[in-house]
Amino acid sequence: MRIDRRWRRGWPWAGLVLFLLVPLVQPEGFYLDLLMFTFMYAAMSVGWDIMGGYAGYVSLGHVGFFGLGSYAAALLLVHLGLPVFLTAPLVGVMASILGAGLGFISLRTRGPAFVIVTLTFTYVAQLLMLDLKSVTGGSKGLFLPLLDLPANLVIVPFYYAMLALLVIAVLVSVAIRRSKFGLGLIAIREDEGKAEASGVNTSLYKILAFAISVWFAGTAGALHAQYLNYVDPDLAFELIITLNLIIMSLFGSRGIVWGPVLGAFIIYPLSAYLIFLLPSRLAGQVHLVALGIVLVLVVMFLPDGLIRSYQAWRRKGPIDRRPVEARASIVEAAG
């Protein structure tokens, strides 16, 4: 029993040490790239889940923050010469401020406003980048200066940066989960009216959660722009990124720290393999259809995700779908 607990505490650190060592053994190639993108998606999914899982408000617009992060970092580098590795966290903060603004528009009320705003925001952002030609280069895009590194080692700093982002994401998520703030978010998910009545400042909590949630998308977007050395409106705002975050969180389990991480570590390598297998003419379309089908299937048959379903299976009991009244203790504890 004690070994079990120690193992449970220890395995994330063991995994971290392992991932820290990978570039020393194999400093280039396909697998490093694969792991780097897995970290990126895992970090953004954990971020998405702070809003979508804890507070229960699903965002359909995280790629908007990713894309604006890409552009902000690219512009800071091209016009002011500031290196992306320094500006990335600040670009994330810009995304958070913007997120708070959008949250102010859409989160003061309950209902569908949040879905509408997050869904359309991506398109607005893309349109702006396309139309502000004098600054962003329009549809031609922006080229970023290359990093001064040998070609086979250039991925290494990105690998560690994305790994760091993932570690930060998990730590932040754990901290929120253990805090009164996290309890408040879960209370909002379970019953927003009761949460408000018992003293949770629901609007503030939701706006704050969304601001934290999009920091990871903005920062990841900044790093991604420098990794590609290029940014254009189509590439920066690829909808498939939002789709991936949603599927990864749902598939792993929403509202559980490790759920989105598990989802990302399963879904991303599988997608990469799928794209690798398909003929390039069809790869994009089939990938899209496949992800869409996965989303619909997960929503229909595995809405609680792998971790929660596994826990339920081990207890050999049904998943906790008690009526909300039975969970009032959560709401009271948060208030």
């Binding site: 229960g56 699903v58 359909l60 528009i105 859409s106 003061r108 009320t109 309950r110 209902g111 569908p112 406003a113 879905v115 509408i116 705003v117 869904l119 359309t120 991506t122 398109y123 607005v124 349109l127 396309l130 139309d131 009216g193 009761k194 009545a197 909808l239 789709l243 949603i246 749902l250 069809l282 994009g284 379309q285 089939v286 990938h287 899209l288 259809v289 496949a290 992800l291 869409g292 089908i293 989303l295 619909v296 929503v299 229909m300 809405p303």
Partner: protein, 293 residues
Amino acid sequence: MSPGLLAQSLVLGILTGGMYALMAAGLTLIFGVMKVINVAHAAIIVMGAYLSLTLFRHLGIDPLLSVLLLIPVFLALGALIQWSVVNRLAERDITLTVLMTFGFAIILEGLQGAIWTSSYQGIKTGYSLESFQLFTLYIPVVRLISAGISLLLLAGLYALLTFTKLGRAIRATIQNRTAAQLVGVDVRLVTTVSFAIGIAIAGAAGPLLGMLFTFYPATHWLWIGKLLAIVVLGGLGSLRGAFVAAMLLGIAEQVTSVTLALGWAPMIFYVFLFGVLVVRPQGLFGAVERQSL
């Protein structure tokens, strides 16, 4: 802006707005009965455009005729999808239902790309480029026809909702689902029928969209943004509101594209969308949503 140009923009705006109203009607109807934003709505419209394009190219069927052909097909598909999957989910979790429609939108986009490639398409008939002069105004024939068909279909929908028993049941369900159930309305059936009608209108709008605008698989993201702006401005769930908002935004779009640059015209929709959400979240005709504790 000269008076002549303003009059021209008004006419074009109203003609385009008529079609926008048709496209938005299904979206607001589905929201009304289910409280779900159908993210796939515009993807379904674009699907209608592609089907009509294929019918026209391979069988020579005029897009105006395919409007009539597509209605029963989409009605049946809508009913089937609603009854088989959407309804079961919607009774459990609305958030998941929205995600499911998001998944549908992605699947449709991918399928369209795989079947018709992702290059730009448009339905060009013999009368596509014709126009006539009315006083000083320039009237494109296709816009006039599409506005006429849209108004006919909307009038039909209005009659259905106003004068039939089914229509009363739908309106009752929109106003208060629980109360409708209490007085004996079969809300599940009403929901399925309304969803199917919403999808059928979307399918019917497809050929009209295809005749007026170029389209490619990802265009539906542009359109869902425009449609959401319309239904939010009109008040979610309000058909009358959607109609008025469609006209307003159709005109606003034309005026912007004439006074500012063409590239900025889509932005006017989002300005309205975000503005309305800040100032008056319930829209022009929407009721304030009350939620019991």
